[in-house]
Point group: C2
Chain length 339, copies 2
DNA sequence: GATGTTTTCGAATACGTTTTCGTAGTTTCA
DNA sequence: TGAAACTACGAAAACGTATTCGAAAACATC
C-alpha cells in the first residue's frame, strides 16, 4: 500500500507538505502542489480512510438500520427503493453506508455500539421495531439520527404522508360511487394508525359510515393472512363492493381468494393497493394504488442527516412530510348503488 | 469516547495489558482479566474499528459491488435476496459490508480505489457489467474477490446453475406435450448463454427442433420489451403453444399482451418464468418457474470469500455451482398436438 | 540596511489500538 | 541453594494521516 510517506520521499518534501498539498491547503506553493499530485497519481496513491478518521474523527460513513429481528427491509420493494436512494444520495455527498446490526461475529452488540465501533457519523433508521430498547438507546445517544416513517421528539424524521394516501384512495372510491368499503389494515403501527385516520376522514367528509365488520386486521406483505381477511369480508351477509388492501403485495393474496370465488376485478369487486411499486402497473388489471415516493424519502433523509452531522449545533429537528401520488389503474369500477 | 487508556487508568494497569485482557491473550492473570473486562463494561467501552484496522490491517469489512451505471442490484428482487443473505452471512462471521461505487463526493474513484480507501478485506461482485475496465481492474488486483453468476479464471465464483434451470423448465414443457415452445431470452450475457444451452439440450434430448423465429430477444425485468417480444411470437402464422420468459417480472409484460389478445393462461397458452421470487406463487394462476436459491448463493459467496481472505495462500479459486428447483404452479397445461 | 510582512515548508504530536520483546518476580527442580 | 523455567506485566514502537506552530526564506517598506 502506497502512503503519504512514499510520496514525500519521492518528492523530497515532508509528509506534512504532501498531506497539505493533497488536501488543498493554501500555504503550499502551486509548484509543489503540482509535483505532489503528479507523483501521487503516478504511484496510484489512495488515501486511507481509517487513518484519516483516526485524526479527524469523521468517518464519512453513515449507518443504515433497515433490518432487525422482526423484519428485513432489504427484500421489501418499498424499502429496497428507499435504500437505493439513500445509498445514491449518500455517495453524492461523499459518504459510504454501513448496515447496522446487533451481532458481529460472536460478539453481541447493541445498535449504538455497532455505530460507535464503526464510527458512523450518523444513522438513518427505517423498517425496524421502533419500540425496542435498542432503537431507543440509539435515538437517545449523541449519534445524529433520522428516522423514516416514524416520528420521535427531538429527532428529525422523514414521513410518507399516510393520512393523505389513505384519504385520497378512500375519496377516490367514494367518488366512484362506492359506499360499502372494506378496509384491511396492517399490524398496529403508527403508519397503520395514520392510514386509518385518512380513511375515516374521507368517510366523514362524504357522510358515509361503514359497519365495524368492514374493518379487518391483516398484515403487511403477508398474502396468506390477507387472503383470509379477504375471505372474512366476502363471507359477510352484505359484503363490501370495494376493498382497500394493506399493500400491493398482500393484495395478491386477496386476489387469489377473489378468483377462487369466481369474482372478477373490477367487474364484480373493486380493489386498491398501497405502495405503488413497479409491479402494480404490470398486474392484470393494473392496480389502482398509492405511490409512495420512496426515492424522495431516501434522499430527504440523507440530506437532513448530513445537515445534522455537519451543523450539529445549529440544526434543529424537523419532520419532513413527503407526498405521494394516486396511481389509477383499472381495478376500480364505477359503482351504482341500485345495481 | 471511552478508550483503552481510560480503562487502563481506572484499573491501574498499562494499556497493553488492557488490550491483551480484552483480546484473550494468555499471559494475563485470570484476576486482571476479570477486573479489566468488568470495568470495560462499566465504562461502556466500545473498541474502535479504525484504530484496530490501522494496526492489524484487517478491516473486517467486505465490499459488495451490486450496482454500476447500467444496473441496480438493490431493487431487483433476486439480487436483493442475495444481498440480504450476503449481509447475514457476513455478520455471522464478524464482517460488515460496504457498497462499492465509482464516486464518492466529488472524487471519482475506481472500484479498486474505493476498496482500498475503505480497506475492504475482500469483495463480492454481482449484478454489474462484468466486461467493464473498472471491474477487470478489481478482479486482477490483490483484493480477494468472489463473483456471482459470472466466472473468471483465477477467481472464485458462485453460479446459479442456469443450464440446469433452463433444461428442467424446457423438459417440463416437453413432458407436458408441448412441441412448439417459444423462448424469449434476455440481453446477451453469460447467464443468457447458459440458459440457451440448457434449452437446446432439452430439445435435442427429446428430438424436437423449433423454428428460429421462436427464439426472440427480450430483456430481463423489462415488461414492455417482453410484451413486444410476446406480440411478435403470437403474431407468427403458427404461434407457439408455450412460452418461456426471461424472468417472473418480465412475464407480467407478456401476460398483459396475452390478456389483450383474449388468451387465457394456461387454457390457451402455457407459460413459465424464471427466478422463483416470492411473487410468482401469488399470481393468478401461480406461475411455473425456476427458483434460484438466492439465499444459498449469497451464503456460499461470503463463505468462500472469507475463506480466501483468511487463508489467502492456500485457498484455491473454485467455481461453486448452486442448484435451483422447479416451482410448478398452474401456468402450464398438458398439450395434445391434435387439438 | 533594518524592520516588518508574507510565503512556504517541516518537526512534532496525536488519534486508539496491537504486538514484540524485555524484565521483575515467582516457582520448580536437582 | 543456585540455576532454570515460568508467570504476569509494561515500555515502546508502529499503523497512516491531519494539524498546530514555529522558523527559514523571500520579499516589501521606509
Amino acid at each position: 500500500m502506497v502512503t503519504i510517506k512514499d510520496i514525500s520521499k519521492k518528492c523530497g518534501v515532508s509528509p506534512a507538505t504532501v498531506s497539505k498539498a493533497l488536501n488543498g491547503y493554501d500555504d503550499i506553493s502551486e509548484e509543489t502542489i503540482r509535483l505532489v499530485r503528479q507523483t501521487a497519481s503516478e504511484l496510484n496513491y489512495t488515501p486511507n480512510a481509517a487513518a484519516r478518521l483516526l485524526k479527524t474523527s469523521i468517518s464519512h460513513n453513515i449507518g443504515v438500520l433497515f433490518v432487525d429481528d422482526t423484519m428485513s427491509g432489504l427484500t421489501h420493494e418499498y424499502f429496497s427503493y428507499i435504500l437505493n436512494s439513500v445509498k445514491e444520495e449518500a455517495e453524492i455527498s461523499g459518504y459510504d453506508i454501513t448496515f447496522i446490526s446487533q451481532k458481529l461475529g460472536k460478539r453481541k452488540m447493541s445498535f449504538l455500539q455497532h455505530c460507535l465501533y464503526r464510527n458512523c457519523d450518523g444513522v438513518v433508521i427505517a423498517s425496524v421495531n421502533f419500540d425496542s430498547k435498542a432503537v431507543h438507546e440509539l435515538i437517545n445517544s449523541d449519534v445524529p439520527v433520522v428516522t423514516i416513517d416514524y416520528a420521535f421528539d427531538n429527532v428529525s424524521s422523514v414521513l410518507s404522508d399516510n393520512v393523505e394516501g389513505a384519504y385520497e384512495l378512500t375519496s377516490y372510491l367514494l367518488n366512484m360511487g362506492h359506499r360499502k368499503i372494506g378496509y384491511i389494515f396492517g399490524e398496529q403501527t403508527s403508519v397503520t394508525n395514520k392510514r386509518l385516520v385518512g380513511f375515516n376522514k374521507a368517510l366523514k367528509e362524504h357522510g358515509v359510515s361503514i359497519p365495524p365488520e368492514y374493518m379487518v386486521q391483516g398484515r403487511y406483505h403477508d398474502a396468506e393472512v390477507v387472503r383470509e381477511a379477504t375471505a372474512r369480508l366476502m363471507d359477510l351477509p352484505d359484503p363490501p363492493t370495494a376493498i382497500m388492501f394493506p399493500d400491493d403485495i398482500s393484495f395478491l393474496g386477496g386476489q387469489a381468494e377473489l378468483t377462487r370465488r369466481g369474482l372478477r376485478v373490477p367487474e364484480d369487486i373493486s380493489v386498491c393497493g398501497y405502495d405503488g411499486i413497479n409491479l402494480s402497473g404490470l398486474l392484470q388489471p393494473p392496480l389502482t394504488t398509492w405511490h409512495q415516493d420512496a426515492d424522495r424519502i431516501g434522499k430527504e433523509s440523507v440530506r437532513k442527516l448530513i445537515e445534522t452531522i455537519e451543523h450539529r449545533s445549529t440544526c434543529a429537528a424537523e419532520q419532513i412530510m413527503v407526498s405521494g401520488q394516486l396511481v389509477s389503474g383499472s381495478s376500480v369500477r364505477e359503482w351504482d348503488e341500485k345495481m
